[in-house]
Amino acid sequence: MKRPRAAYDDVVIAVPVTVPYVRHSIRGAHWFLARALAELLKVSGLGKHQIDGLCVSSFTLAPDTAVGLTQHLGVTLRWLDHIPMGGACGIVALRRAARAVQNGDAQAVACIAGDTNHTDSFRLNLATFSQFARDAVYPYGSGGANASFAFLTAHYMRSYGAKPEDFGKLCVAQRDNALQFPHALMKKPLTLEEYLTARPIADPLRLFDCVMPCAGADAFLVLSRADAEELGLPYARILSTIERHNAFPDDPIQYRGGWALDRDELYAHAGIGPQDVDVLATYDDYPVISLMQMEDLGFCEKGQAPDFVRRHSFGVGGSFPVNTSGGQLSVGQAGAAGGFLGLVEIVRQLTGQALGGAVAGARTGLASGFGMINYDRGLCSGAALLAARGGPS
């Protein structure tokens, strides 16, 4: 018999931190992670010794892991995790940290994700991303994720009638959101015309369908509600979370992610439905995957996302606010921090700390993660439903 899941009673997420992104950096990943932790301490008022748990995600930390980082940053911990799950790392970090705090294995867990980006580090990371990538993908054109998402996008368009304009509408809306977000690397407005006529990268993908790799870091703190209140920290409550790895392995090509397998449990566990979500952060390295998340997380039926996109607007004042900081497509993809960006933004929206546009009266937010194109598809998916302090319980 399936055992019931415990609620995340009295565990909260707080202190959303972004270390400003830069296109290229001569620093190491350690520098960005250190800045993230320092900012986390500064904002929270906690001393280094008061952080007893650390959760790290980074692609460019090698040869170190989270272990090396403890000595590098001079922290003594009783709980440590390293989550190499790319775009799902934020959700998974939250899940791990929340249970550790809930069960008393740690009191305050700093979750940090970040990467550097030298001019050649992106290529080197691609070439050795995974054994399957090295053996069976990278030798074929060496296009990286662009080629993989081109396959998925072409197939999705053919199957469900999505048009370039549909993806474009989302990208343009996110750029509008980004123009208000101080850390976004993309500072220029984007028109649909510019989107549609941009340089082709891997048909059907064009330039503005693809994230820009950059350097940067994001972080958040997981602690008990009582501690957060004592510290005077604005926080969001955790209603439910899910993660799934290698979902639907028999699908010949990815048209859905693990969310489709787990979303009923997500909403049942949270006690709410998709209609209750005020603000959504999709994992958005390419727009097709945002459309899949809208379907798989229950905002519309499978194959209906193109129509859903046509019917909605995605700005902070829109009918369906999505990626209100601009998302990775307009802020940039700072490696593993891309798995934190949406989650951190949802926390900001629910705690009245938005750095850019704020969704008025946002009580419930959903952050979604998706990561690791190991071979022909993304393997990791996850989502977290969060609520503002006085929101649904």
Binding site: F122, R123, L126, A127, T128, Q131, F132, R134, D135, A136, V137, Y138, P139, Y140, G141, S142, G143, G144, N146, A147, A150, F151, L152, A154, H155, R158, R199, P200, I201, A202, D203, P204, L205, P252, I253, Y375, D376
Partner: protein, 416 residues
């Protein structure tokens, strides 16, 4: 439809010759199983001996039942193109210099989904395709999806031509064109559209029937070349070395003797002088220019073919010293392959069974006819393999050798 290749214009000598770059060559050891099959012209995938599951990419365990008993078995490659892209941006120089590049995602009828280079004549997805494994410029197996049925000029596809050593519009040197095989090769290469065929010959005082007729083939140009003469090899390389796109070393000295049947080392030395040192001399003089011309436009230097023998795998005592010279040549050819690998020039080793010629007079049939062997060599150039075993005898010996090399050694000893 693929547009037929047109003869490239003469090379502008003022322009810099582009330095060869390679597609990514890193593979896990288990993935080299695919390369081992492709090296022999076969598309093989891992098949679980316990549950029969077929899988790709290569793994250390069966995806279905976790068994470690995985065999590489030949597949027919039939499948459906699920999706495609035309890649216009690459992170690697090799592809960056060759953009755009068409790629497909194919579901094989036997189960797995593969990423493959996609031939220009494949219909848009969803469509039926055939997947083939061939060695790419890095010498590693690469999968290419081609149309379900052959199309006109399909060998001229720009991407496919990067995977093959097609002689069309290329310049070929046959080191010894006097033999029946050499003559048949010259004719076959001319028929295959080679631009120039240099027909090498040694010992001009020794007339070979038919050889002079070669000169009547328009593409053929006779070239004095004696592989036992270091100076002659150097001179030939000085004259044509910078233009040879495909070198086919057919020079072969063959006597029927073991150890006890003949005193002294003169015969064995003569065999080694042609079969081993001849290759070494050739490689020292011709390989450097070919290495530099691995990316020299549409008709770059692409292949070096060695006529070895199935006897190179395991000694055939009645032709014992000859076998030894071919084994030495095989070892040297592996060295040459390593040294040419950085330029993407493929070293193709040909391991025929006994050729139907005078030095194999006493061997019973089947013996491979020179014209048939020439055809197989041209086919190998058009394909993606690097080790070929033409003829029934070679195929059988190979199978016996792969199955149990010690058993083959005993069987050949008994043939004495």
């Amino acid at each position: 439809m693929t547009r037929p290749l047109v003869r490239p214009p003469r090379k502008n000598p003022i322009l810099r010759t582009r330095v060869p770059t390679l597609p990514p060559g890193g593979r896990s050891r288990v993935a080299l199983g695919l390369t081992a099959g492709a090296a022999r012209g076969r598309f093989e995938l891992q098949v679980c001996r316990d549950c029969g599951a077929v899988q790709y990419p290569p793994r250390e365990a069966c995806l279905a039942c976790l068994s470690s008993r995985l065999d590489w078995r030949e597949q027919d490659g039939a499948g459906e193109l699920l999706s495609e892209t035309l890649l216009r941006h690459s992170n690697e120089l090799f592809y960056r210099e060759r953009m755009p590049w068409r790629l497909g995602l194919v579901r094989l009828d036997c189960g797995p989904v593969v990423v493959a280079h996609l031939h220009g004549d494949c219909e848009p997805a969803p469509s039926r395709v055939r997947v083939r494994a061939a060695l790419d410029h890095a010498g590693q197996a690469a999968l290419t999806a081609i149309p379900e049925k052959d199309t006109p000029n399909m060998a001229d596809d720009r991407q496919l031509r990067e995977m093959t050593c097609d002689p069309r519009f290329r310049k070929v040197l046959i080191t010894d064109a006097k033999t029946p095989l050499g003559q048949a090769l010259a004719a076959a290469l001319a028929a295959a559209g080679a631009d120039i065929v240099w027909a090498g010959y040694a010992e001009p005082w020794k007339k070979a029937p038919g050889f002079e007729l070669l000169a009547s083939i328009p593409q053929v140009s006779l070239l004095p070349l004696d592989l036992t003469d270091s100076r002659a090899v150097k001179d030939a390389a000085g004259e044509i070395g910078g233009r040879v796109d495909i070198l086919i070393n057919t020079a072969d000295h063959h006597r029927n003797t073991g150890i006890a049947a003949r005193n002294g080392v003169e015969t064995a030395r003569a065999e080694m002088d042609v079969n081993y040192f001849g290759l070494l001399r050739l490689a020292q003089e011709f390989a450097p220019a070919m290495r530099a011309r691995g990316a020299d436009g549409q008709s770059s230097a692409v292949a070096w073919v060695n006529l070895l023998s199935i006897f190179a795998l395991s000694n055939f005592p009645p032709h014992g010293t000859y076998s030894a010279s071919k084994a030495a040549a095989l070892s040297l050819a592996q060295c040459l392959r390593a040294e040419l690998s950085g330029a993407g020039v493929r070293v193709i080793n040909v391991f025929p069974g006994p050729i139907d010629d005078e030095w194999n007079q006493l061997l019973p049939p089947p013996k491979i006819a020179p014209a048939r062997l020439a055809g197989d060599i041209v086919e190998a150039l058009r394909g993606g393999a690097e080790d070929i075993f033409p003829g029934d005898i070679a195929q059988e010996w190979l199978e016996r050798w792969r199955d149990n090399p010690k058993a083959l050694e005993r069987e050949l000893a008994a043939a004495r």
